[in-house]
Each structure stands twice: as structure tokens, then as C-alpha cells.
């Protein structure tokens, strides 16, 4: 057994995740709390956008998380398909709704931001549409994973889909560079350093860290629930067979 297999064995997972879960939870609460406070009250309003710029502190981290969660799903799907690691499949399943929620938040906050900025809730530009497609990919993954009677088969089919759908992630990320759109081009994650005022950058990064910890905590929570659920099912079956 490799270290990875040992790390991912359900009993091992249950014991260390019990440690990680509260840490991640508190870190998430702390980062989001401080980030929100800085972002909403301490950071300057934008000279162009005024106060509406504060939507950024939710929108941008949520959009990053949408991409990040899907990438994580693709990675753990690969882990499952190549190394047959059941926990990896559970992890993909656990991540999907979290990612879908972040995508939904990015979409909703984006369109709330779009109303004052562009004068409309929604435009069909490349960034926005590809984000919408990403949302559909999440939905497709979840629908497929749940559509099978046999969870292991659902997991396999959905893992394949998650891998194939990964091609959309670079499209979302680079759509602003490939097509000229209304949407802002990247201004934080750039080769030549961030082009943004540090007073805005700090709360933004804090929020991003907070969202990440939050995602980690929720995924671990869901994973623990799934592992326990399977244990219960196994026990029930043993009971039924003993009778």
C-alpha cells in the first residue's frame, strides 16, 4: 500500500478529518469575517464604480472557487479512474454541490453587479456564458452521479464526465483574453503582478482564503457523512442477513 492509499482508507480518513474539520471551519469563519469587515468598511470605494465595487469581495472569490472546485473534481476523478481510490470518487461527489453553489453565487452576484455597471442583468458575452456552461456541467455531473441505481457505477460514469468536462475550465478562465468582452480581464492573477490597489487586494485575498477553507470544511463534512452512511448501510445489510 502506498502512503496515498493509507491516507485515503476510510478509517484513517475519519480519524484525521476529525482534526482538520474544526480547524478549517474556524479559519473560514475568521478569514471571511475579517475580509468582509475590511472589504465593506475599511477599503476605499472605487473612483469609477463607487460603492458597488464591494460586490467584488464576494463575486471574485466565488468565481475563483467555481473554477477551483471543478479542477479539484477533475483531479480527484482522475485519481479515482487511475488508482481506483474509492475515497477520491466520494470526494468528487462531495465537491460538486459546493462548486455548483459557488458558481451560482458568482452568477447571481455578477448579474447584481452588472445591473449598475452595464445597465443590464445579463449579457451573453463569452465570460458570462462560459460560466453558465460551467454551471450546467456541475448540474450534469450531479444528475449523472445520482441517476444510477448502483452508486459505484454512477460514480464511475460521472467521473468520466468530470474529466471530459474539464476542457471547459480553461475556456472560462481565458475567455476574456480570447474574445473581447464587456467583462473585466484578469487583474489579480497576472504574470506581471497584480494591477490592483493593495487596500482592495488584502480583503479580496482574505475572502478567497476564507472561501477556500469553507469549501474544504464543507467537503470534509460531506465526506464524513458519506463514509458514515455507507457504514450504516453495511451494518444494516449484515443485520438483515443475520436474521
Amino acid at each position: 500500500m502506498s502512503w496515498w492509499h493509507r491516507l485515503a482508507s476510510p478509517t484513517r480518513f475519519m480519524s484525521y478529518s476529525a482534526w482538520v474539520l474544526p480547524i478549517a471551519g474556524w479559519l473560514a469563519a475568521g478569514c471571511i469575517g475579517v475580509g468582509l469587515a475590511l472589504g465593506l468598511f475599511a477599503s476605499p470605494a472605487d473612483y469609477q464604480q463607487g460603492e458597488t465595487v464591494r460586490i467584488m469581495y464576494v463575486h471574485v472569490p466565488a468565481a475563483w472557487m467555481a473554477l477551483f472546485c471543478y479542477s479539484a473534481m477533475a483531479a480527484s476523478s482522475a485519481g479515482y479512474l487511475i488508482w481506483k481510490q474509492p475515497l477520491a470518487e466520494l470526494a468528487t461527489r462531495a465537491t460538486a454541490p459546493v462548486g455548483a453553489c459557488f458558481t451560482a453565487i458568482a452568477l447571481v452576484s455578477g448579474s447584481l453587479w452588472g445591473q449598475p455597471m452595464w445597465g443590464t442583468w445579463w449579457v451573453w458575452d463569452a465570460r458570462l456564458t462560459s460560466a453558465l456552461v460551467l454551471f450546467f456541467l456541475y448540474l450534469g455531473y450531479m444528475a449523472l452521479a445520482e441517476a444510477f441505481d448502483d452508486p459505484t457505477r454512477g460514480g464511475k460514469a460521472a467521473s468520466i464526465l468530470a474529466l471530459v468536462g474539464f476542457v471547459n475550465v480553461p475556456i472560462v478562465k481565458f475567455s476574456v483574453d480570447w474574445w473581447n468582452t464587456l467583462h473585466q480581464p484578469a487583474s489579480v492573477v497576472k504574470l506581471d503582478g497584480p494591477a490592483i490597489d493593495p487596500a482592495m487586494l488584502v480583503p479580496l485575498l482574505l475572502m478567497a482564503a476564507g472561501f477556500t477553507f469553507y469549501a474544504v470544511a464543507v467537503v470534509i463534512l460531506r465526506l464524513r457523512a458519506m463514509v458514515l452512511e455507507r457504514k450504516i448501510q453495511a451494518l444494516q445489510r449484515q443485520l438483515a442477513e443475520a436474521r
Binding site: W121, V123, W124, T129, A147
Partner: protein, 223 residues
């Protein structure tokens, strides 16, 4: 008889809402078809708002029609239709029960999804009420007309999209009045006439469809 009617509606609803059933995928198809259009025609908000009622109606029509293919086919293939035909219920009532279940399982969810899509397509607010009313009157007609097509193509192996071929021409009047109602509302005119026409179509379909579809089902039993 009411008991048997409700039993059939209940069973079909259960099958539709269950995992892998129709409801989820019909709504998904509707939403995705609508969102594909802006990719196709480009992002100009005015143009999209202009074609929005048409796109919504066509997508609703396609979604309803395509899911109709399975209305009788699944039951035909596994022998359930034989047994249903042997129940004391007349075939016409059977058809009505299955069509009602189909509408409840797909038409109503489409109605629920419509406001969101109207928002995405920038449809002006004053059109929403009439759009929903028109869809509420029009989608049952689509289900009924679709039932005719589904029943008539039963005997044909792999009827599939053939249903669409039979039903869509019949559904064109529904489409025309449905769009007319929304257009009227958008121009600030009263939409009563097209809405009443939709109601009339629904009545006609209610009379015609059970009879025609039952005949189709009866035919399919012979093979």
C-alpha cells in the same frame, strides 16, 4: 373508475419524478435550448429580447414534444400497455390520465422555469404575465397533440423523432397564438384574443386527442 384514473396518474408521476425520470431532463433540455440561442445569434441584448418570445415558445414546444415520445412507448415495450388496455378503464380515459400526468410532470415544471429564462433573455417585464398565461393554456394542448403522435407511431419501430414530425405541424397554431399573445402584451395591447384562441385550441385538443390517441394505442396492440 376515478380510483383507477388516479392510480395511473399517480404511477406516471412517480415514474417521472423518480431518479432518471422525465421531469428533470425536460426542464434541463428547455433551459439549455434557450441558452444556446444567444450563442447562435450573438450577444446583442435588443436582438435577443426581440426574438425571446419565439425562442421560449419553440423551446417549450420541442421539450414537450420530445419527452412525449416515451408517453406510451415505454409501456408498449415492456408489455404494460397490454395490461392497461385489459383494465376495466376505457382506453380514452387511460389516454387522458397518462396525458394529464405528462403535463403535470413536464408542463408545470416548464412554467416554473420560464421566469428565470425570461430574465436571462431580457424579456421586458410587462410580457411575463401573458407569457405565463399563454404557456399555461398552450402546454396542455401540446401534451394532448403530442399524445396523438406518440400513439400513432407506436407500431413503428424506433419511432423516436418521427413523433416530432407528426406533432409539430399540428402544434403550429398553438405556437402562433402563443407568440401573438406575448407580442401584443409587449406592445401594450390587450392579449385577450390570442389567449382565447389558445383556450379554444385546448378545448378542441381535449375533444380530439383522447379519441385519436386511443385509436392509435388500439392499433399498436395488434403487433
Amino acid at each position: 373508475m376515478t380510483g383507477a384514473f388516479l392510480a395511473i396518474v399517480g404511477r406516471d408521476l412517480r415514474l417521472a419524478f423518480r431518479r432518471g425520470g422525465d421531469t428533470g431532463s425536460v426542464v434541463a433540455f428547455f433551459v439549455i435550448t434557450v441558452t444556446l440561442f444567444p450563442f447562435g445569434v450573438g450577444p446583442e441584448p435588443n436582438l435577443i429580447a426581440r426574438i425571446a418570445p419565439g425562442v421560449l415558445w419553440v423551446a417549450a414546444l420541442l421539450a414537450a414534444t420530445l419527452s412525449l415520445d416515451r408517453l406510451f412507448r415505454a409501456d408498449h415495450e415492456d408489455g404494460s400497455l397490454d395490461l392497461l388496455a385489459l383494465s376495466p378503464l376505457p382506453l380514452e380515459v387511460l389516454v387522458l390520465a397518462k396525458t394529464l400526468a405528462h403535463w403535470l410532470a413536464t408542463g408545470v415544471p416548464l412554467l416554473v422555469a420560464t421566469p428565470l429564462l425570461a430574465l436571462l433573455l431580457n424579456l421586458p417585464l410587462q410580457g411575463w404575465g401573458v407569457l405565463l398565461a399563454a404557456l399555461a393554456l398552450g402546454t396542455p394542448s401540446l401534451s394532448l397533440l403530442g399524445a396523438i403522435g406518440a400513439a400513432l407511431t407506436l407500431g413503428v419501430r424506433r419511432g423516436g423523432v418521427l413523433v416530432a414530425l407528426l406533432v409539430l405541424p399540428l402544434a403550429v397554431p398553438v405556437l402562433i397564438f402563443g407568440v401573438a399573445a406575448v407580442d401584443a402584451a409587449l406592445m401594450g395591447l390587450p392579449a385577450t384574443t390570442p389567449l382565447m384562441a389558445l383556450g379554444g385550441l385546448l378545448l378542441a385538443a381535449l375533444v380530439l386527442a383522447p379519441w385519436a390517441a386511443a385509436a392509435g394505442v388500439r392499433l399498436s396492440l395488434e403487433s
